[in-house]
Symmetry: C2
Subunit: 292 residues, 2 copies
C-alpha cells in the first residue's frame, strides 16, 4: 500500500515515522516545496520516494495533507482533481471552515476526510519529527456526513494505528473550540514574547527567568509561516476569544490591589487545571485497565 | 548547626530536603500554621523538630522564611526582634519592595538577606516538595548593601550548596523584572483559565485540548493564598506589565486578517524563545565544561 504525504514538516514527518515503524505502508511518497526537507526525509529514511507533482501521487491509497492551511485551501481541489477515484485524502489543518468552503460541492468531496489531530509541538521541520507524537491524543473529524463511509473508515483505521481516538463535530464548532484551546494560547504566547522583547532590559530578564516563564512562552517558538495563515482563516472566532480574554484580564487587573477579589478569580481559574488533571488521570486509569 | 524553616510548603519543604540530603544541618526545625503540613513534614523526616513560636527558633544559625508574602511583611520584624544577634534570616518572597519597606531601619536589618530563588512549580504543600528544585537556577539578592557581609556570605554559601548562582539588584528593579517574567505570566494563565471556564462548552473543550494548551494553562494551578498577596504587593509593576501586554495583544488582534502583519509579529516573538534557547544551551555547555 502506497501512502503519500504532502508536507514533510514536523507533523508530516512524525506521521511518516509512525507509518514506517508500524509497517502500515509498502512505500511512503513525499512531496514538499523545500528541497531541504525532502533531502532530510529521504536521507533519514522517513520517506521512500519523492514526487514533484500532485499527479504523481494519484495511485496512492492515502494522501495525507500536512502543509500550512493557506496552501491546503488553495490546492485541495487540485489534489482532489488529480487523485484516483479510490484514493482517500485527509488533512491535519488547525482550522476547518475555510477549507470546508473550498471543497464544498467538489465531485470527489466524499474522498476527503477533514481531520485535526490534537498534537504537535512548538518546533517545525522534519528534523523535529518524532515517533508516537499522536499516541493517546484526540483526532477531530469535521463534517463527517460529507465524507464517504469507506474513506471515513480508512482514515479512522490508520489514525487508530497511530494511537488516536476520534471525535466528530462540524467545522464551525471545531473552529470555535480550537480558537479557545489552541489559537488564543498561541496569540497570548506571541503577545507575551513581544511584551518582553520590547522592554529595554529584556535579555537581563531572560537570564533570570524560571520554569514558569519558559512554559508560558513555549508556544511563542511556533512558526510564522504556519500560524499567520491559521489566524487569517480563523480570525473571527480567534478575535472573539481575544475579546473575552481581555475582559478576564481586565478583571484580574482590577483585582490586583484587593486580595479577596483576586483570590476569587484565582480559585475560579484553578477549576480548569483541576478538571484537566482529572481528565488526564481518567485517561491514565483507562490505559492501565486496557493494558491489564 | 540548627536551621529553622518557617513555612513548610513546596519551597520550604524542598529546601529542607536538600539540606537533609547534603547534610548541611544537624537539625532542621520547622514552623507552620498548618498542623497537616507539620505532621507531613515530621512523618516524612523532612524536618526534625517543630517549633510553635518565633522565639523557639532564636538559637538557629539560619532562619529561612518561606511563607506567603503578606505574612512575611506582617511578621518579619517580629522574627528579627526574637532572633539571636548572630542568626541569619533570609526569605524567598517573589516581591521585595514592600518587605524592604517593612524592614527598613530595623536594628537587625543587617541580619536579613532579601532573596528570591527563581524556582518553583505550580503545586504547593510539603507533599509536592522535591530535591534539587534549585539546582542550576538563579537566586536574586536584593539591596545587598543593607545586609551584613557575614550574613550575605552565609546565605550565598548555603544557596550555592543547593546549586544556585546569585545575582544582585535593588528591590525596585527586581519587582519590575519579576512583574514581566513571573507575575504577568501567572495573571495570563489565570485569565486564560477564566476565559475557558466561562464558555458554555468548557468541559468538552478540555477533553480535546493538546499539549500546547496544557503548558499555557499550567500556572493557573497556582495557589490563591500565595498569589493574591503577591499581586497586591506588586500591583503597580504588574499593572503596568498588563497594560503593555494588552497593547501587544491588540496589535496581534488587528493583524489576524493580514498574514504579512501577523508574520512580522510572530517573527518578533520568536526572538524571545530563540534567545532563551541560546541561554539554556550556554548553561548546558558551561555545566558540561565544569563536569569535565
Amino acid at each position: 500500500m502506497k501512502i503519500a504525504i504532502i508536507g514533510l514538516g514536523l507533523i508530516g514527518g512524525s506521521i511518516a515515522k509512525d507509518i514506517k515503524n508500524k509497517n502500515l505502508a509498502t512505500k511512503i511518497i513525499g512531496l514538499d516545496r523545500s528541497r531541504e526537507n525532502i533531502n532530510y526525509a529521504l536521507n533519514q529514511g522517513i520517506i521512500d520516494e519523492v514526487a514533484s507533482s500532485y499527479y504523481e501521487l494519484s495511485d496512492s491509497e492515502y494522501i495525507i495533507l500536512t502543509v500550512p492551511v493557506n496552501v491546503i485551501k488553495k490546492d485541495i481541489c487540485d489534489i482532489l482533481d488529480s487523485m484516483h477515484p479510490d484514493t482517500t485524502l485527509f488533512d491535519v489543518a488547525s482550522c476547518k471552515s475555510e477549507i470546508a468552503k473550498a471543497t464544498n460541492g467538489h465531485i470527489r468531496r466524499k474522498n476527503y476526510v477533514s481531520c485535526h489531530p490534537m498534537s504537535g509541538t512548538e518546533f517545525s521541520g522534519p528534523e523535529n519529527a518524532m515517533t508516537n507524537l499522536f499516541n493517546g491524543k484526540v483526532n477531530i473529524i469535521c463534517d463527517k456526513e460529507l465524507s464517504g463511509l469507506v474513506h471515513l473508515n480508512k482514515v479512522q483505521l490508520i489514525l487508530s494505528e497511530l494511537g488516536m481516538e476520534t471525535v466528530y463535530m462540524t467545522s464551525e464548532v471545531h473552529d470555535n473550540y480550537i480558537a479557545f484551546i489552541s489559537h488564543l494560547p498561541h496569540v497570548l504566547a506571541f503577545a507575551l514574547a513581544n511584551t518582553i522583547v520590547n522592554t529595554k532590559d529584556f535579555e537581563k530578564m531572560l537570564l533570570l527567568s524560571g520554569g514558569g516563564f519558559k512554559t508560558s512562552i513555549r508556544l511563542a517558538h511556533s512558526s510564522a509561516s504556519m500560524w499567520a495563515p491559521i489566524f487569517e482563516q480563523n480570525k473571527s472566532a480567534t478575535g472573539k476569544a481575544i475579546d473575552l480574554f481581555i475582559d478576564e484580564l481586565t478583571k484580574m487587573k482590577s483585582s490586583l490591589s484587593n486580595c479577596s477579589d483576586s483570590e476569587k478569580l484565582i480559585k475560579s481559574a484553578n477549576v480548569v487545571t483541576i478538571k484537566l488533571k482529572e481528565i488526564e488521570n481518567n485517561k491514565h486509569k483507562k490505559k492501565c485497565y486496557e493494558n491489564n
